[in-house]
């Protein structure tokens, strides 16, 4: 903390970062009490894009809730689709054909790369470097084109269905994905050369925003934030769902606990996602992509069900309470950013303003998912 902050004669002022601010990526508002350039207290204020998805879940049939899943985290919508599909399949006891699961994994991982690419680009843009964003966007467009050719939409996918996926992938998609991987792999070392190795960036990220593993645990932070603090926790490994146990990949973990570690986890995850996709493409079995005998009006038995997946930003889990009808009695969405950003208040105390925004960017918040 600054010597100013400790002295008696301190004068603080309030600064309102957001809801419209270049660094908050959407409509997050942070009320900051500043002491010169230092942050005395920061309080995130949410709800600017709150849409009450949970109530919507109570008013819509299970099938009708699908489009909502793409609109939580618009950057990694596939993982959210996956969670809902998994949840209802668990609740109703639907067996999913293997091919469908492989397709789910391939699309979800492509989506994860896309999300991390944008996260990376936007993060560097927060730090003042505009060019990496454009390079990342270039790669991202390739992924969006691939996904569009299968799902029909570019961002808010509504592709999975209870018991499978909406439609099968074709050879064009498979060759396109392989070509993309071939093109994308050499890009990551280029990013590392251009961005990660840059002395200015290292100066800005190393040692900024330390979050200990215990703090992550107390706040329920997950995803790259947790893995950047040295905890090897990934739902794909620790609570295996879908066909992830059959695939070959590593979980990148960094022990430095700072913004750089979180950034590096994301970068390494992209490489691992490439591995997963390649692996899954090689193993892709033939067969149907929809389970037979999926009732049109799903009525899962009474009780409550829980399902968790690893979205791009951490653990996304859903808890639904079913009362045996065709709508949910209570639908609870646990979004990773919500927990990740909740530690901002404590962690940002005494930080420089520019460091705090670098730290916030390293949490990679997606506001619509946070507000739900």
């Amino acid at each position: 903390m600054s010597s100013l902050a400790q002295s008696q004669l301190r004068e603080t002022f309030e600064l309102n970062i957001g809801p419209q601010h270049p660094a908050t990526h959407g409509v997050l508002r942070i009320k900051v009490v500043m002491d010169g350039e230092y942050i005395d207290r920061a309080e995130p204020i949410l709800g600017y894009i709150h849409r009450m998805h949970e109530k919507m879940g109570e008013n819509r049939t299970w099938n009708q809730f699908w489009p909502n899943m793409g609109r939580l985290d618009y950057l990694s919508a596939m993982a959210y689709n996956h969670c809902y599909a998994g949840l209802m399949e668990r609740a109703a006891g639907i067996e999913v054909p293997e091919r469908a699961e492989y397709i789910r994994v391939i699309t979800a991982e492509l989506n994860r790369i896309q999300s991390h690419l944008l996260g990376f680009g936007a993060y560097i843009m927060d730090l003042g470097g505009f060019t990496p964003l454009m390079y990342a966007m270039d790669e991202r467009e390739q992924i969006l084109d691939l996904l569009e050719s299968v799902t029909g939409s570019r961002l808010t996918y509504c592709y999975f269905r209870f018991g499978g996926v909406y439609n099968d992938i074709d050879d064009d998609f498979i060759t396109g994905t392989r070509a993309f991987l071939k093109r994308f792999r050499p890009q990551i070392p280029m990013y590392h050369k251009l961005v990660t190795g840059n002395a200015i960036l290292m100066d800005r990220l190393i040692g900024v925003g330390p979050i200990s593993a215990d703090m992550c645990r107390k706040y329920g932070a997950t995803g790259p934030v947790l893995r950047g603090s040295g905890v090897n926790y990934d739902i794909r490994r620790n609570e295996p769902y879908s066909v992830y146990p059959e695939l070959d990949f590593d979980i990148p973990v960094y022990k430095e606990c700072d913004s750089m570690a979180r950034y590096m986890v994301r970068m390494d995850e992209m490489v691992q996602s490439c591995r997963i996709i390649e692996n899954a493409l090689n193993k892709l079995p033939e067969g149907p992509v929809m389970a037979e005998k999926v009732p049109k009006a799903l009525k899962p038995p009474k009780g409550d069900y829980h399902y968790a997946v690893e979205a791009a930003r951490g653990t996304f889990s859903m808890r639904t309470v079913s009362d045996g009808t065709n709508t949910s009695y209570r639908m609870r969405l646990r979004s990773p950013t919500y927990s990740n950003v909740s530690l901002f208040e404590e962690a940002s105390r005494g930080m420089l303003l520019s460091d705090a925004l670098a730290f916030l960017g390293s949490l990679d918040p997606v506001i619509p998912e946070m507000d739900r």
Partner: protein, 186 residues
């Protein structure tokens, strides 16, 4: 993390909160499994299910429910439960509320998971009176509970006693309704 220890301690905790009558641990388990195994087309044991669950611990099947342990305790014991789970290195994933309008109760659900390798999920639930929904906060143990509890208060009107900042969060500041309650009509 010691699964057996958590189970034992939570079992004891749930038993502590029970009224004087002897705790019947076996019956709820049966009901649960019966309900699971049943064909969804014909819900036979409907009569039994409509009765709110008794306090106590149920071992649930992960493949069907997504959780391993399901504990229902008295509201004043949630802090104790959180202490037990915190000591074992569990993390609080989310806090949720459910409105049981028919029973005149509100339910608070705490989802715990273990971030250290093993797969272990615990659900702690407590039923409150709908007219007097007070429950102690676990904010001092889990910082992350702050926002979750605040949201639950905002959406369902569950009053977390001792919470540092029960203010409107996601809803507008002048919202005087609880939208996730079942009797809420917009």
């Amino acid at each position: 993390m010691d699964r057996a220890k958590i189970k034992r301690e939570l079992e004891n905790l749930a038993a502590e909160g029970l009224p004087a009558e002897p705790p019947q641990e076996e019956t709820p388990v049966e009901v649960q499994t019966e309900a699971e195994g049943e064909d969804k087309a014909k819900p036979k044991a409907k009569k039994d299910e409509d009765v709110p669950r008794k306090n106590g611990l149920i071992e649930t099947e992960y493949a069907k429910r997504g959780t391993h342990l399901d504990v229902q305790i008295n509201p004043d014991q949630v802090v104790k439960a959180a202490e037990i789970l915190d000591a074992e290195g569990m993390t609080l994933e989310m806090v949720t509320g459910v409105d049981w309008l028919k029973e005149g109760q509100l339910e608070v659900i705490y989802d715990y998971s273990y971030p250290g390798g093993q797969l272990f999920r615990v659900v702690v639930r407590a039923r409150l009176d709908r007219n007097n929904p007070d429950i102690p906060t676990v904010c001092h143990l889990y910082g992350g509970a702050n926002w979750h509890e605040r949201e639950t208060w905002e959406m369902l009107g569950i009053n977390f006693v001792g919470h540092p900042q029960l203010e409107h969060f996601l809803l507008p500041e002048d919202a005087d309704f609880y939208p996730l309650r079942k009797d809420f009509k917009p």
